[in-house]
């Protein structure tokens, strides 16, 4: 039955979410060409160097494109989250819940289907966003001369070597896999808790989200900044002992552990509420 639930969940979401991902990718492709052309023109166009008005026009178009690109990426990612939120709320806690919760499946299977589908879309959306940003950056890179390109790549490589090692990379990958799940399940948790309110379910979910974020920020601040204060160099002027990778790795591990534990707590609370406390109008 889980397979059927997942199939119908994808059927209900693929049109909108595929469209949103196509917009992200399309924006990346457009930026590849626009960044390449405009930046190259700014750097090398003889006419542009001698004409201040034209130079200002091209520079402002360049900046506008850059801002529009990031705004569109932000809007598309926000749209994906909002769509998944609305889908979760409507199919479980609005009138549609009468159908969903009377299907001959366990309430945990319903939750698993929502989580698996949402997670696949989140990871897919994240990868598409990364690909889109990469395309935009490649557009920028290709507008430089081959010599400049080599210099830029060299500097990026040096910086990466300074802060990254295989352990950090692995932690970043784990981070990239866990955080979308954390984001998704925390939102589902807030919606599920919010529906316990008799009248104002959406307001309840928003309040829960605000409270959860506040608590989360306090705990994360303690785990990251507080941890930094405990390091030996914290009260010393000598930063020669500072090791980026060691600090990052420690912070990433702490954050990962906190996120995984939070995910487990949210999961069991949602399961309990869906099995015992569903509050349909």
């Amino acid at each position: 039955m889980l397979g059927k639930l997942i199939r119908h969940e994808f059927k209900a979401t693929w049109k909108i979410l595929l469209l949103l991902n196509a917009v992200t990718l399309g924006a990346g492709v457009a930026c590849f060409f626009v960044m390449n052309t405009l930046h190259g023109y700014m750097e090398n166009g003889d006419e542009l160097i001698s004409n201040n008005v034209l130079r200002m026009l091209v520079t402002s178009s360049y900046v506008t494109w850059f801002i529009l690109y990031f705004l569109s990426i932000f809007a598309v990612n926000l749209g994906t989250v909002l769509f998944l939120m609305i889908r979760y709320y409507r199919s479980l806690y609005s009138k549609e819940g009468y159908l969903t919760f009377t299907l001959p499946v366990g309430t945990q299977e319903i939750l698993h289907a929502k989580l698996i589908t949402g997670y696949v879309w989140s990871i897919g959306g994240g990868l598409i966003t990364m690909l889109s940003i990469l395309l935009m950056l490649l557009g920028l890179l290709f507008s430089f001369t081959p010599f400049e390109q080599q210099e830029i790549l060299q500097e990026v490589g040096d910086f990466a070597n300074l802060i990254l090692n295989p352990a950090t990379l692995l932690l970043f990958v784990l981070f990239g896999l866990v955080m979308p799940l954390y984001g998704l399940i925390s939102i589902y948790f807030c919606i599920t808790v919010g529906q316990l309110w008799q009248k104002h379910k959406i307001a309840g979910a928003i309040l829960c989200y605000i409270a959860l974020n506040f608590v989360n920020r306090v705990i994360m601040s303690f785990l990251t900044i507080g941890r930094m204060m405990l390091l030996p160099f914290a009260f010393s002027d000598d930063l020669s002992d500072f090791r980026f990778s060691s600090y990052y790795n420690g912070t990433l591990i702490t954050t990962l552990l906190f996120s995984v534990i939070s995910c487990a707590v949210f999961y069991f609370v949602i399961r309990y509420i869906n099995a015992n406390k569903v509050n349909l109008d």
């Binding site: 039955m1 059927k4 119908h8 209900a12 199919s91 009138k95 549609e96 819940g97 009468y98 159908l99 919760f101 009377t102 299907l103 001959p104 499946v105 366990g106 008799q198 099995a275 015992n276 406390k277 569903v278 349909l280």
Partner: protein
């Protein structure tokens, strides 16, 4: 097992402490059409939601065909809630696929026959239909299942007399022998002629459960007349 529903000391209290269902012990026989009767607020919908697994009892136990409420009982219950619960962005065709996918007892042919009879185009989306048509589609879906237990919450409330006749005839003509129908309503005169048994709920308790014929003989009046008398007395 000749009992489709068994409740022992079933109680449901809401967060304000109000007992919507108060210590009910009830056994419903299989193969009957049973009216779940009572005024507004008597606990009919709460009882139905517990039977369908939408609410968890505060105390007591509830079994459907000898099974505790869960996926297995949901597979044998065909539930019609008192409101439209279908995804309105779907076409009727897509909803039929959805039902056929999840319910092994769903009869696709029967669904399309009933749609044709009512001249409803299965390619139309629900959101393009009138409220009455959407309710008919929902009834068709529920009655297209060859279920053992039909639980219908206020199926004739808020519809015109002609539609009531259609709904009742659809229910009666599509129930397989051996299946049980539990119909909740306060419009008793409209459904009395199809009922075999009646359960009277009063302030969350079972005030009366008997065969309709027995009630008529014993009381010398129709179930509707008795209902009006009992609840008029309550009001005084």
């Amino acid at each position: 097992m000749n009992e489709i529903l068994t409740c022992y000391g079933l109680t449901k209290r809401y967060s304000n402490g109000f007992p919507a269902i108060d210590n009910i012990t009830l056994n419903l026989n299989a193969g009957r059409i049973i009216g779940l009767l009572g005024p507004n607020g008597s606990g009919k919908t709460t009882l139905i939601k517990m039977i369908c697994g939408l609410l968890t009892p505060t105390a007591g136990s509830l079994y459907v065909a000898g099974l505790p409420v869960g996926p297995q009982t949901k597979a044998i219950i065909s539930y019609l809630p008192d409101q439209t619960y279908l995804n309105d962005w779907m076409t009727v065709h897509q909803i039929i696929d959805y039902f056929a996918d999840f319910y092994a007892d769903f009869d696709v042919m029967r669904a399309y026959e009933m749609l044709t009879g009512l001249q409803i185009d299965p390619n139309n989306r629900l959101k393009t239909m009138s409220k009455g048509t959407r309710e008919k589609v929902q009834l068709i879906l529920v009655m297209s299942r060859r279920a053992r237990f039909y639980v219908l919450d206020e199926p004739i409330a808020g519809v015109d007399p002609a539609a009531r006749d259609y709904i009742l005839s659809t229910i009666v003509s599509n129930v397989d022998p051996g299946a049980t129908v539990l119909i909740s309503t306060h419009l008793i005169s409209d459904i009395e002629h199809v009922l075999h048994e009646a359960v009277f709920l009063q302030q969350g308790r079972v005030a009366l459960y008997d065969a309709v014929e027995n009630i008529r003989k014993r009381e010398g009046k129709s179930v509707d007349e008795l209902f009006r008398e009992v609840y008029r007395c309550l009001g005084n």
